[in-house]
Symmetry: C2
Subunit: 306 residues, 2 copies
């Protein structure tokens, strides 16, 4: 089995979805402990105005801290050119821009239509190039939109191609709304890979809104995906469904990939212990995950050493 | 996409795993409502001595009731020859015998070693043949055992072949312990199909102990599986992991298969409403499932009509 990258997005996608603000020291402890468990890429925050998302106000400081951890790829989300400039100034290794495949959602979320987003991508690609930063684009609402419903799959491939021509170096398909199913994952990954090249169509960002998160991972693996975003403790929940988890749970994903014989480099036992940091820092947040309750099965200890 | 059968096992596997005894009338209402939602096969109970499992004491009566529902395939579990005789007397359409692939577990669970189980299967196959009843064997602990750890996959194929020669008509691979992963599911389904014929290796009985249940369904579909057991509300939980669900959740499974374009015949909206019966009859039991919270996505109403 091949190497698979688990990209931890909890400090960004998890924390921006909850009301509580995690103290900076707890964020640092989380990032450090998770890196020690073998996670090699973490999205540490988002360069958005603190007035909009106070939970992300310390992103620049987290970037500097995380860059001190050997072997860790430090990623931040950027919503626009201003964010990209700030991310570059902070010294991220990589930045990620959400590009909504539903134009209605794009207008509502970033107040830009598709043509304007392509222009934005061109400018951010220049910033990334100048600063020698990796620049990925997340194709959000790619599997469906809570406002528009179904999103045309050919349009997704077409927009990805336009973004690649504008300078995006890598793509993630994001199931922002929890609509994706395994058949659609295989279909859409292949379609976008055909449009931009399989080397650029590497990542899935999946939510577990309807419990299909790991099924979609299994489908993604079959389609050649090599990177999966996930959130420790499934932090953040799902705004559309109280009680339902949001991002797929890092611990369950790591268990599945390790069990399948993929090389994740993650020591599951150490990873499970990182939950204590979140439980202490966010006492009122529900923490998700099945493997944390069930534990590592008898006879599977070795392959979960990472 | 092909026709896929969802076989509801909640009235047996769900109810036998909880302390509360569901009143007969509630069981009948459940079975009737679920059949009306489009479920065409239900395992209504188990022919075990009521002294061991008082929750299953009314199985014969439930069989008679369920046989009155047009188009419903009525299944019961039988642990041994005596159970098979009682199932035949009650008039089941099909009976299912658990055959543990871990000999330690087999001794502990049914007090028989593998050779004794093959003898038992021979006798039950005779009973089934005489009564014109379908006879399936569930290869339990096939993916691993909480006592033995890993279970040899070649041994599973070998034991399935012996059971087929003894008269078993169809096989289910059961992830009794929640150890299975998608790679293993594909491998083991192919191995057993090679041993007994793909037409007999039709079914997966999966648990969601570590959150991988639907991922294993996706893998099973790829491997040619056409029947999946599931339990409404994930009823029964998991004895090894408090808070973790046991059987995969019928509602989430139906959503996934419908979304993928498989023909399940299930009206998801109607199915979701059957939960009310369980909630009312078992007020102290936790009910699981993601789709019930998140609902049917915008634009996917039609394909969830069944």
């Amino acid at each position: 089995m091949s190497d698979i990258l688990i990209s931890e997005v909890g400090p960004r996608d998890g924390l921006q979805s909850i009301k509580a603000i995690m103290p900076l020291d707890a964020k640092k402890a989380w990032i450090k402990a998770e890196a020690e468990a073998g996670v090699t890429e973490i999205e540490v925050g988002s360069f958005v105005p603190p007035s909009l998302l106070p939970q992300m106000a310390d992103t620049a400081e987290l970037v500097r801290f995380a860059k001190g951890i050997k072997g860790l790829n430090v990623v931040a989300l950027v919503p626009n050119i201003r964010g990209a400039q700030n991310a570059a100034a902070a010294g991220v290794h990589a930045m990620s821009l959400p590009f909504s495949m539903s134009e209605t959602h794009s207008m509502k979320n970033l107040r830009k239509n598709h043509a304007q987003m392509i222009e934005e991508i061109k400018e951010i690609a220049q910033i990334a190039k100048m600063a020698n930063i990796h620049f990925a684009v997340g194709l959000s609402t790619a599997f469906g939109c809570t406002i528009e419903g179904a999103v045309d799959e050919d349009q997704v491939a077409h927009l990805a191609e336009a973004a690649a021509n504008a300078g995006a170096m890598e793509f993630s398909l994001s199931d922002t709304t929890g609509y994706a199913d395994p058949a659609q994952v295989k279909r859409l990954v292949k379609k976008v890979a055909s449009a931009v090249g399989a080397d650029k169509m590497t990542t899935l960002h999946l939510h577990n809104t309807r419990g299909l998160g790991l099924a979609n991972v299994a489908a993604g693996l079959d389609a050649g995906i090599t990177t999966f975003d996930a959130s420790l403790c499934g932090l953040g929940g799902c705004p559309f469904a109280p009680g339902a988890s949001g991002n797929i749970v890092t611990e369950d994903l790591a268990f599945m990939l390790n069990a399948m014989g993929c090389k994740t480099g993650i020591d599951l036992d150490k990873l499970l212990r990182v939950r204590d940091i979140l439980a202490a820092a966010l006492p009122d947040e529900p923490l998700y995950g099945f493997t944390p309750d069930a534990g590592i099965p008898l006879g599977m200890e070795q392959r979960n050493k990472g």
